[in-house]
């Protein structure tokens, strides 16, 4: 069996792990990932926008995609998926989203629901 040489110190490892943790902290602090007040709920299928609501609306909408349906509910400034016929139900377990940048993904249906702070279009 090959005998792999182990470095005698943890110096390289300490530098590497420190850099990675620092990178993680910086990522968490990046403005792009900050939870700003959301304004719109944008629905995308295959990367194409297929619908948009204001986060203040009261909506119960059945979104039909080529693969199945997801029932989107918007109430009290939050949006969530109430029911869906996908297999894993990850979109339902995701719970509600309200801040800009938060996302619900239903991968089997190629569906992404995002809260944006974006402009009126």
């Amino acid at each position: 069996m090959r005998n792999s040489k182990l470095p005698s110190t943890f110096r390289n490892d300490a530098i590497l792990l420190g850099a990675l943790v620092l990178a993680a902290v910086i990522l968490f602090c990046t403005p792009f990932f900050f939870g700003k007040e959301g304004r719109f709920v944008v629905i995308e299928e295959n990367g194409r926008e297929i619908g948009r609501f204001s986060i203040t609306d009261e909506v119960t909408e059945e979104i039909r995609t080529g693969q199945g349906y997801n029932t989107l509910v918007i109430r009290g400034g939050a949006a969530w998926i109430e029911s869906a016929d996908c297999r894993d139900k990850i979109c339902i377990h995701r719970g509600s989203i309200r801040n800009a940048g938060e996302t619900i993904v239903c991968l089997p249906h190629r569906l992404v629901i995002t809260v944006t702070e974006g402009e009126e279009r």
Partner: protein, 163 residues
């Protein structure tokens, strides 16, 4: 390959399958199908240090394919295999450099695994929206890689298999 060697590799495959099964019972983040705590990577890291590269690769690849077949979906297979390939080659490079200990190798594996999965999700969905999860997945990769790495380092030290 000797019979003894084959028997060892088969038992490690079995062990990796059990770990895969255990982690399929733990809903970790549930963000992306196929996203796991990375327990099975323990076997991959161990094999990288105690067996040949090709053997570590094959056992791990078969584990990924079989556990997707048994506990997952086509989607989870795509995600697992993408994450596995990038993390395996990242770990291999780290190890071959001989500048890092197994904990760093494992942490790099965990981070690359998660970053590969998020990249695949962005490509599949054609939407950058899930990039929102990068910080969480990045940190989760470090954490799970560190835990796996600590256990692996212990096993590598305690089990000096000679074949």
């Amino acid at each position: 390959m000797s019979g003894k060697r084959l028997a060892y590799l088969a038992s490690f495959l079995g062990l990796a399958m059990i770990l895969s099964y255990v982690e399929s019972l733990i809903p970790f983040f549930g963000l992306v199908p196929g996203m796991k705590a990375g327990l099975a990577n323990l076997v991959t890291v161990f094999l990288l240090y105690r067996f040949r590269t090709a053997e570590a690769f094959l056992v791990s690849l078969v584990r990924v394919a079989l556990s997707a077949l048994l506990f997952g979906t086509l989607f989870s297979f795509l995600f697992s295999v993408t994450g596995f390939l990038l993390s395996f080659f990242g770990m291999l490079l780290m190890k071959k450099s001989e500048r890092f200990r197994s904990i760093s190798v494992s942490v790099i594996g965990g981070v690359l695994h998660n970053m590969a999965q998020i990249a695949l999700a962005v490509i599949l969905l054609g939407s950058g929206a899930i990039a929102y999860y990068i910080p969480v997945l990045f940190a989760a990769g470090i954490l799970s890689g560190a835990i796996v790495g600590l256990i692996a380092a212990f096993l590598i030290r305690k089990i000096p298999i000679r074949l």
